[in-house]
Every structure is written in C-alpha cells, then in structure tokens.
C-alpha cells in the first residue's frame, strides 16, 4: 500500500475518526434510551405492585422484609425520598416513626448503658412503648436496622455496630468506634459474657498487651465500659449494654 503523506491525508484521518465517534455516541444514545424505557416500565410495575400491596407492606413484617430485599437487590431504596410515588406508600412514614422511637429508647437508657444498646434490647423496649395492637408489635430487627440507618444523616452520633451474626449494637453518642474497638465488642459478645480483659484480647486476637490496654482504656474513657479491679486473676472490663440484668432493668426499679 502506498504510503499516504501530506496535509490531505491527515485531514482525511481526522474526518474518519470523527465519523467513528459520531456513530459510537449514537449507538450509546440508543442504548440509553432503551434502558430508560425499561426502567420506566419497571418503575410502573413496581409502583402498581407497591400500591396494590400497600397494606400488606405496612402491616406484615415478613412481607415488608421481602419487599425491602427485592428493592435492595435492584438498587432501589424506598426510603431514600419522601417525594414521588414512595410517599403514597406511607412506607417512609413508617420508618421515620420508628427512627424517632429508636432515638427515644436510646436516650432513655443512656443513663445506664452509656449510649450502647443491643438491638434486641432496643426492640423489646420499643415494642413495649408502642401501642398494644398487633400491627404495632410486628417490628423486626430488619425494620429497626433500616430505620436506624436513616439516622446516620445526623452525622456520626448514631451508628450500628455488628457484633455477631445477626447481632448488633446501636451506638447513640458521638464518637466513631475504630476497628479495634468494634473487635473488642465482638469478643465480648462472642464469649456470651459481659466482660473482657487484656489477656482475653491477647489470646483471641493476637494483640500486644499495650494495644489491648489502649482499646480498653478507650472504652472506659467513653463510658461504654466499667472497670473492675476485684477479679482474682486480672482487671476486668464490663459492658452494661451486654449485661443481662441491666438489659432487663427498668428505670423505676433501679
């Protein structure tokens, strides 16, 4: 092939490139249009589904969970906005109400647990404070997690710490917990006891004693843990939020 040189050839190359580009973007546009059409159809279907089963979603905890899961798997958050068709579901309101109740329970128990509460205790107290009707009782841990996640918009004053499979602590005071601190809580929960010590952390997590001590001092300093110097073996650190009698205690009897 004869080598083409000169200004003309460069111009021609440029023109070809532009044509390719044009074609490319028109294909892209086409796909986008198709996709948005699909999305619209899907939205319509989801809307009509949601409105058809509105009452079930509100009243039936299991149904609500399935619906949430379905939405999550396709990347839709029915709680993300109160505007639009989701608001007619009243779904948002349901969770907003829950969020407020969660905050109330956290504040009411702060005096004894220092701002850490297990999801189970939270649920028991919350259900007790809601009405007696069946609809008010069927609150699952998933509902609480969904509602509690919404509270993150208020900054780091509210977070959820997974401690064991299916077990969570809700933290309701400002201050981020580091990975080390969360691991301390996980260890406490794993032992099914309310205390931990430097040597337990050394053995279970291969930590140095300095690292363990630092993490535990932090827990005491933040008011999550109580210090106990009277164990015959070594100093212990106790968490009221995981101490059964504390979890079951009511204000008037304490």
């Amino acid at each position: 092939m004869k080598r083409r040189v000169g200004v003309g050839a460069i111009h021609k190359q440029k023109l070809e490139q532009e044509k390719y580009k044009d074609k490319g973007s028109s294909i892209q546009e086409n796909q986008l249009e198709q996709l948005s059409q699909h999305l619209n159809t899907f939205r319509d279907k989801l809307e009509s589904f949601a409105s058809e089963y509105k009452n079930d979603i509100k009243k039936n905890a299991q149904f609500r969970r399935h619906f949430q899961e379905m939405c999550a798997s396709i990347g839709v958050d029915p709680l993300a906005s109160r505007k639009g068709f989701w608001s007619m579901l009243g779904m948002g309101d349901f969770y907003y109400e829950l969020s407020v109740q969660i905050v109330e329970v956290c504040l009411a128990t702060n005096y004894k647990n220092g701002g850490l509460i297990s999801l189970d205790e939270l649920r028991t107290r919350l259900i007790r404070s809601r009405g007696k009707s069946q609809q008010h009782q069927e609150i699952t841990n998933e509902d609480l997690l969904a509602a509690a996640k919404k509270l993150k918009v208020f900054g780091n004053g509210f977070s959820i710490i997974p401690i064991r499979r299916g077990q969570f602590l809700v933290q309701s005071v400002p201050g981020e917990l580091s990975l080390d601190h969360s691991q301390v809580l996980q260890q406490v929960a794993d032992k099914n006891q309310a205390y931990i010590s430097v040597s337990i952390l050394e053995n279970e997590l291969n930590w140095t004693s300095e690292r363990a001590q630092r993490a535990l001092d932090f827990m005491v300093q933040e008011g999550y843990a109580w210090f106990d110097s009277q164990s015959p073996v070594e100093h212990l650190y106790w968490f009221p939020s995981l101490f059964t009698e504390c979890m079951n205690a009511d204000k008037d009897s304490s």
Binding site: Y111, Y195, W226, Q230, C246, N248, S253
Partner: protein
C-alpha cells in the same frame, strides 16, 4: 420489715470498684445513693460504721465476691453528706448517721404527725414516739430522732427534755 430490692447494679461486679471515668462515676455514686437509702429504710439502719461496713451485705455482695473498698464507701458517704442524706457522728468520720429523709423532711413528717394525733401541747416520751406502730419512723434510731427533734426545737415547734437515760427523754410539741 420488707425485703431490700437489690438493683441490677448490685450484681454488676464493677459497681464495687470506684470508676475512673468521671461521668460513669457520677452514675455509679447516684446508684449507690439510691441503694443505700433503700437499704437503710428497709432495715431501719441509723448509723453506718465505716470500719464494720464490709460486713454489711449492703457493701459486700458475697455471691459475686465483690465489696466496696473503704475509699469507695468514704466517697459514697461524702456524696450523701452533700445531699443532706448523711452526716458524720464526729470528726473522725468513722461513724455516720444516714437519713433516708433529710433532717428537714423528717422534721416536717414528725411535726405533721404531732398535729394529726393531738400531741401538740402535751409531753410524750421518745420511747413512745419511736414505738408508734406502723409509721415510717417506727423503730428509728434514737440519736437520729433526737436530731430531728432538735431541729424542730430550733424552729420553736418543740422542746426537748433530755434525761441521762435517753429513752426516758421526752418532747413537747408546740
């Protein structure tokens, strides 16, 4: 005498170690205050002796092998003192009066009792007062009863007639 209602903290081992965190210690001392006042009320305890305190179930939970240290007891008593719920018997601060009602509350209660039962302007003995059946002050420590009446005397609502034998002492309400 009814049973003491032990709060959850009583079974929480670190409750018996004075807490290093200031905020937590505040909660701890408040819980101790509630517990001590509940305890002395139910057991009609008038005086706590710091040196004997570790034999009292109040400060010693044998079930979990924990007891409050003398410093801890001192801290709790000082806090009660601030709130008007305790007072050292003398300067050594070894023995302490504990009041589940503050003295001024007690004075009101006694004076009201005198008014409601026609004791005003008549003399009754300390023994009679302390052994009035089914009152909150039934079985109250004598020394504390005298302190209450002294307070009423200061307000000119009563006059104490003390004798060497304390139970023989009397009081006249005005």
């Amino acid at each position: 005498m009814s049973e003491v209602q032990w709060p959850w903290q009583y079974n929480f081992p670190p409750f018996f170690t004075l807490q290093p965190n200031e905020e937590t210690r505040k909660k701890q001392l408040e819980a101790w205050r509630d517990l001590i006042l509940e305890y002395v009320k139910k057991t009609k305890t008038g005086i706590v002796d710091v040196q004997e305190a570790d034999t009292m179930p109040l400060f010693c939970n044998a079930a979990i092998s924990r007891k409050l240290s003398p410093e801890g007891i001192q801290a709790v008593l000082e806090m009660l003192h601030q709130k008007g719920n305790a007072e050292p018997v003398d300067k050594t601060k070894v023995r302490w009066y504990i009041y589940w009602h503050t003295l001024s509350e007690w004075a009101d209660i006694m004076y009201q009792h005198a008014q409601e039962n026609g004791l005003v302007n008549s003399v009754c003995t300390l023994y009679e007062l302390i052994n009035t059946p089914d009152k909150e002050f039934t079985g109250l420590n004598e020394e504390i009863m005298i302190k209450i009446l002294e307070r009423l005397q200061k307000d000119e609502k009563a006059e104490l007639i003390l004798s060497d034998d304390r139970s023989g002492s009397g009081v006249k309400f005005f």
